[in-house]
């Protein structure tokens, strides 16, 4: 029998209540990631990427958030059947989250060595000395020079790129099955970004870790992912293998995004912009959420919401006119 996927999520829904209004931030998301695979979750600001990540991690235990899910499995184990206690034990050891903002994710009053070492002491029961040695090893692995000298330094003594690498070190320290990286490089320069992406990719190759990489950068997704899922207004509107999806998008939103990015090699005179703006999550239009901005929208689109359907092997799209799009691309 084949190995179960590392992560399997079916029909995740998250609704916030704010000022007496319901904000359905995530509206039925499915995610599957296999061992050693990187799935990039793409989408613009407010489309629900971070909320999805936090819900998967079980970090949305707050009074104004309602989280529902039909299936949630980590390496075949049912997360929904577990107690909060059991889930907490998985967090930090078998699935970890790299937050976007490295400074706020680290404790400013504890040394780096203390913070990494704690993982080994709490989850692996190592002694202080062993934990320290492993922490130094981890810091060198993520490219912190003279790690043995810097281990007692505090977060503010490191640059932004180094702090991000320290977070990555903490996320991989216990060799988790799944790493969720929420925009791990957005705040970094391209030269440092390239180092971090290379690092995450090396861990995936060497340790077989599954990676959920959240980004809004189509370039970043193209560089490191195997599969891509594109979110729009709280739903996944298209997913598929990265090269295929970029070459022959099956959803007009993906197509428009790809057309709107300037090309480094061949500057054209005018970019193909997508008209309008993404919908307010509290009032998404009926029918297809993208319809008000879609070139291909028909009568049907404004009344009936398209379901996410298989449009090829391993490819899914939620659009009434995907087939015409793909046929058009072939012709």
């Amino acid at each position: 029998m084949s190995e179960p996927p590392v992560l399997e999520i079916r029909d995740l829904r998250v609704t916030f209540t704010a000022h007496g209004r319901e904000i359905p931030a995530v509206r039925g998301v499915d995610l599957t990631i296999e061992r050693g695979q990187t799935l990039a979750l793409l989408g613009e600001s407010g489309s629900g990427k971070s909320v999805t990540a936090k819900a998967v991690m079980g970090l949305l235990d707050q009074p104004n958030a309602d989280v529902r899910c039909a299936t949630a499995r980590l390496g075949g184990r049912d997360l929904l059947a577990m107690s909060e206690e059991e889930r907490r034990a998985l967090r930090g050891s078998e699935m970890t989250l790299v937050f976007q903002d490295a400074l706020s994710a680290l404790n400013p009053v504890l040394s780096i060595g203390h913070q990494i070492g704690e993982l080994y002491r709490v989850h692996r029961g190592l002694s202080r000395k062993e934990a320290r040695a492993r922490s130094i090893e981890m810091l060198s692995l993520v490219g912190i020079p003279a790690a043995d000298k810097r281990i007692d330094d505090y977060p503010h003594q490191f640059s932004g790129g180094m702090r991000q690498r320290i977070l990555v070190a903490m996320a991989v320290a216990l060799e988790p099955d799944l790493i969720i990286a929420d925009e791990p490089t957005t705040a970094l320069d391209v030269t440092v970004q390239a180092q971090i992406l290379e690092l995450i990719d090396r861990l995936r190759r060497e340790l077989g870790t599954a990676v959920l990489l959240i980004t809004h950068d189509l370039g970043v997704a193209a560089e490191v992912s195997d599969r891509v899922a594109v979110m729009y207004a709280g739903r996944i509107v298209e997913s598929g293998e990265v090269a295929e999806l970029y070459e022959r998008p099956g959803h007009p939103y993906t197509e428009a995004l790809l057309a709107a990015i300037p090309d480094l090699d061949s500057p054209a005179s005018s970019l193909r912009a997508i008209p309008g703006a993404p919908p307010n999550p509290a009032s998404v239009p009926p029918g297809c959420s993208f319809a008000p901005r879609c070139e291909r929208a028909s009568e049907l689109c404004t009344t009936t919401r398209p379901a996410l359907l298989e449009i090829g092997s391993g490819r899914y799209a939620a659009c009434h006119h995907s087939e015409e799009m793909l046929d058009g691309a072939l012709a």
Binding site: M162, D189, A194
Partner: protein
């Protein structure tokens, strides 16, 4: 309109050092350390560089919001920084668009009042009615409907807010607009709308633009010439096609090769991976500022600072610039 060769704006020997800032921990941050450049009428000069290399500091000096410690900025040959401050007519002719469209617009002012503010300050409208008409014109120019001028900024999307900021910058009919990361805070689907708007405005109004961004592809797309900054100085400066097509400075080469490209097919390409992080601007390395990360560095690089010198059609600050 083809860019004409006379400079509208010229910066020479600009230096700006911040003392005792939060980040400097007692030292002085050398934010801009010797920048010379010219902006020609009707052209777009793109500026790229890593976070913290001094782009915003440079931008503020180019519009006269900040006074350089050393060096000078001139507008059509006239100095910015006179004893009485920046002359009013120069301030009118040189405008700025900021990165974050929400925080740079006063939330308690209507769109009409925001766009009208420079008209009022520079007394450009004889009466309220003329002012209203002019605001309507400006909003139309940036693709917003004039009937929304009674609304507040929060009622607009990010891309629309940036258009409001651009309308305000255009109100005084400037010759120069300095745009500090004007599209970085925008959603990817909206970014192209604003980039196209700048190109259109330049074609129609002939305004010269300084366009600062960290996205290399966006800068290439909009710029006639591009300057690459590293730690407070220009590493390379020249026509966009040259800087991108035939970079002469090792740092430009590394930046171009590290930029992620949205083409999965190109993934295996060879890359220049730079070692380490950018050094702190509190203590920039001696000699060439890039030598701590440069794979071409020799002993000389750690001792002698290279000047920005002509390499073919463009300029590079490297002892071993690729010719």
């Amino acid at each position: 309109m083809a860019p004409s060769p006379d400079p509208v704006l010229r910066a020479s020997g600009l230096h700006k050092t911040y003392r005792g800032g939060m980040l400097s921990r007692g030292g002085a941050v050398r934010a801009v350390a010797g920048v010379d450049l010219e902006l020609r009428a009707g052209e777009t000069l793109g500026i790229v560089g890593e976070s913290g290399c001094g782009k915003s500091t440079l931008a503020r000096m180019l519009v006269g919001l900040e006074r350089p410690d050393q060096g000078e900025v001139t507008f059509r040959g006239r100095p910015f920084f006179t004893r009485g401050g920046v002359p009013r007519d120069i301030r009118r002719r040189v405008q700025m668009v900021f990165q974050d469209p929400l925080t740079s617009l006063n939330p308690r002012m209507t769109v009409h009042d925001i766009v009208a503010e420079p008209l009022r300050v520079h007394r450009l409208s004889p009466n309220a009615r003329a002012m209203r008409e002019r605001v309507g014109e400006l909003l139309t120019l940036v693709g917003l409907s004039p009937d929304r001028m009674g609304r507040f900024p929060y009622e607009f999307s990010g891309g629309q807010r940036q258009r409001i900021g651009i309308a305000r910058a255009l109100a005084t009919e400037p010759d120069v607009i300095v745009c500090d990361e004007p599209v970085s805070a925008l959603d990817m689907s909206v970014q192209a709308q604003v980039v196209n708007l700048f190109a259109e405005l330049q074609r129609e109004l002939g305004v010269a633009l300084v366009f600062i961004a960290h996205d290399l592809a966006v800068v290439r797309h909009v710029s006639h010439r591009v300057g690459v900054m590293y730690l407070g100085r220009l590493a390379e400066l020249g026509p966009a096609a040259e800087v991108y097509g035939a970079p002469a400075h090792p740092y430009t080469m590394a930046l171009l090769s590290a930029a992620p490209v949205p083409k999965p097919g190109l993934r295996g390409r060879s890359r220049i991976m730079l070692a380490g992080d950018p050094p702190s601007p509190v203590a920039p390395p001696p000699g060439c500022r890039f030598h701590t990360r440069c794979w071409k560095a020799t002993d000389r690089c750690g001792e002698v600072e290279p000047a920005l010198e002509a390499v073919g059609e463009h300029f590079a600050a490297c002892h071993y610039a690729t010719r």
